[in-house]
């Protein structure tokens, strides 16, 4: 039981930055930002490559540098997709699909299909207290740091603007506020967080694999819908949603494992959860309710 709980915490912390990123793009900006799947992989590649070049540094130094590098990798994807949308005037769904295709090709070119990190230093073991889960404490510390950062970010001018954009993308042009600035910084931040999660996942599993981002979009949508369904938040936005959603998602996953469910069918479970929540939301919508965009 304790071990299951620790696994849920560990998995939740690994995915927490990704979930905050998805929360910013899917729930606040309300855009179908599929490029987070690419950002996840590019972040893992950047982090892993930088890790290979930092073997002589102390673990804390390595950790800071590789996490920063993974964020840069993810942000790079965000820069491309957001610029395509804002400057190229494409729909963001199209921009993110084009960006994903672009980076998938680049990844194939710069990185083998599988990169092992087994022989590298593991900076996530910097604080090793729980023997069976040597990375747990560092993952909790990183997750907490990301939580605090996003918590304060969403109390700032730009944080409110992300939510306002999702509410009404036409809003800012009426008040001489740069819509492009709000959109681009939001997408970059979301993708940078996805990149960080990609590295954490790669480090925790000791490998980078070029298809590791597949299905992360659905994971995020499922977790965010669970988070929204479980929190009953009435405010226009709340940082609790992605946190609760991630924990709920991995709790469901571990419970299914406990009863012998084969996780290769788990995407079907995710799809059913999303479908049920969408149907429930549709039939329980108040008569006067705002446009909820993607429903996240």
């Amino acid at each position: 039981m304790i071990n299951t709980l620790l696994v849920i915490i560990e998995q939740s912390m690994l995915h927490l930055p990704l979930m905050f990123g998805a929360y910013i793009s899917f729930s606040l900006l309300k855009i179908p930002d599929l490029s987070i799947e690419s950002a996840y992989v590019v972040g893992a590649i950047f982090g892993s490559y930088v890790l290979m070049g930092t073997s002589n540094l102390p673990l804390i130094g390595i950790l800071c540098i590789v996490v920063a590098a993974s964020c840069v990798g993810g942000a790079l994807v965000g820069i491309v997709s957001s610029l395509l949308t804002q400057k190229g005037k494409f729909a963001h769904l199209l921009s993110s699909i084009v960006t994903s295709g672009l980076f998938h090709g680049i990844n194939q070119f710069i990185c083998p299909a599988y990169v092992s990190l087994n022989k590298m230093d593991n900076p996530l073991t910097l604080v090793n207290v729980v023997a069976q889960h040597p990375e747990l404490i560092m993952l909790v510390i990183i997750g907490f740091a990301v939580f605090i950062t996003i918590y304060f970010l969403l109390k700032t001018e730009i944080g409110y603007c992300y939510a306002a954009y999702g509410n009404n993308p036409q809003f800012f042009k009426n008040y001489e506020i740069s819509t492009s600035f709000v959109f681009i910084t939001g997408v970059i931040l979301a993708n940078a967080l996805a990149g960080m999660s990609g590295y954490l996942f790669a480090q925790s599993n000791s490998f980078v694999e070029l298809n590791m981002g597949v299905g992360k979009g659905l994971l995020c949508i499922t977790a965010l819908m669970l988070g929204k369904g479980l929190t009953f938040i009435k405010k226009s936005f709340s940082i609790i949603v992605p946190l609760v959603g991630t924990c709920a998602y991995f709790t469901v996953q571990q419970l299914l494992l406990k009863i012998g469910f084969n996780l290769k069918y788990f995407t079907a479970v995710q799809a059913i959860i999303v479908l049920l929540l969408l149907i429930y939301t549709h039939y329980n919508k108040p008569i006067r309710s705002p446009n909820d965009g993607l429903g996240l």
Binding site: N174, Y175, P290
Partner: protein, 238 residues
């Protein structure tokens, strides 16, 4: 605000198809003015000219005196120093509101700079306080309610207050009473009159509602008409 010899046409060619030709009109400061005219006659175009929102291929020549300063067109455009003082409330005012945010949050959002920063999003910096407090009291607005739960009149007023969050000397309203019942329509115009006086702004309102115009124009109503030559004229009624 005195508009002198305004000439406008949609293309910059040598054609003589002027939309407005040598239009001169005076709007009294701190007053509400009504602009009437048939659909498609040019009310929106007139507003677009004042906002600086016309196509760059258009021809525009004008001089505008506002608050004892003279603004002249340069390269077919009114200078930014003028157009930045002009704000508009669209007919579809919901486009100007973030519906899930409260009245106060919306007002605060409208107050943000061009590039929102990492500064804390705090209340208490909103401009046009008189207009804000006056409106909240008149319309009995619960400022902590999300905007989508406010009535049409309250949302219209919210859009007006938000438009006033940036330095404004001229406020343009496109059919502000079109979707409102009589009571709310009258309340909106009453609010506008008070705002014009208290904030020292010139307000231009396009309006098809004869009853509203008769009740509130007090000599400040104008009509845009198309002359036989095709040009539009903006004449004071009566």
């Amino acid at each position: 605000m005195l508009i002198e010899n305004l000439s406008f046409k949609f293309d910059n060619s040598n054609s003589s198809d002027y939309f407005f030709k040598d239009l001169t009109v005076y709007f009294i400061p701190n007053h509400v003015h009504f602009i009437q005219g048939d659909n498609g006659v040019g009310k929106s175009t007139f507003f677009a000219i004042l906002q600086g929102a016309i196509d760059k291929k258009s021809f525009l020549l004008a001089r505008i005196r506002l608050n004892e300063l003279l603004y002249s067109t340069d390269n077919n455009q009114l200078p930014d120093t003028f157009t930045k003082q002009v704000h508009t409330v669209q007919q579809n005012y919901d486009n100007m509101i973030a519906n899930q945010f409260t009245f106060m949050e919306n007002v605060q959002l409208a107050h943000l700079p061009k590039y929102p920063s990492l500064k804390s999003f705090s209340f208490g910096q909103a401009g046009g306080e008189n207009a804000l407090l006056d409106s909240v009291a008149l319309f009995s607005i619960n400022v902590d309610k999300p905007a989508y739960l406010l009535s049409g009149g309250q949302r219209q007023l919210l859009a007006i207050v938000m438009a006033l969050q940036k330095p404004t000397h001229v406020l343009l309203l496109d059919e502000p009473t079109a979707t409102l019942d009589k009571k709310n329509a009258f309340m909106i115009i009453e609010s506008l009159k008070r705002m014009a006086q208290n904030l020292g702004i010139t307000i231009l309102v396009t309006c098809h509602d004869k009853e509203v115009v008769e009740k509130y124009a007090q000599g400040n109503s104008f009509t845009i008409k198309q002359s036989d030559s095709g040009n539009r004229t903006l004449m004071k009624d009566g």
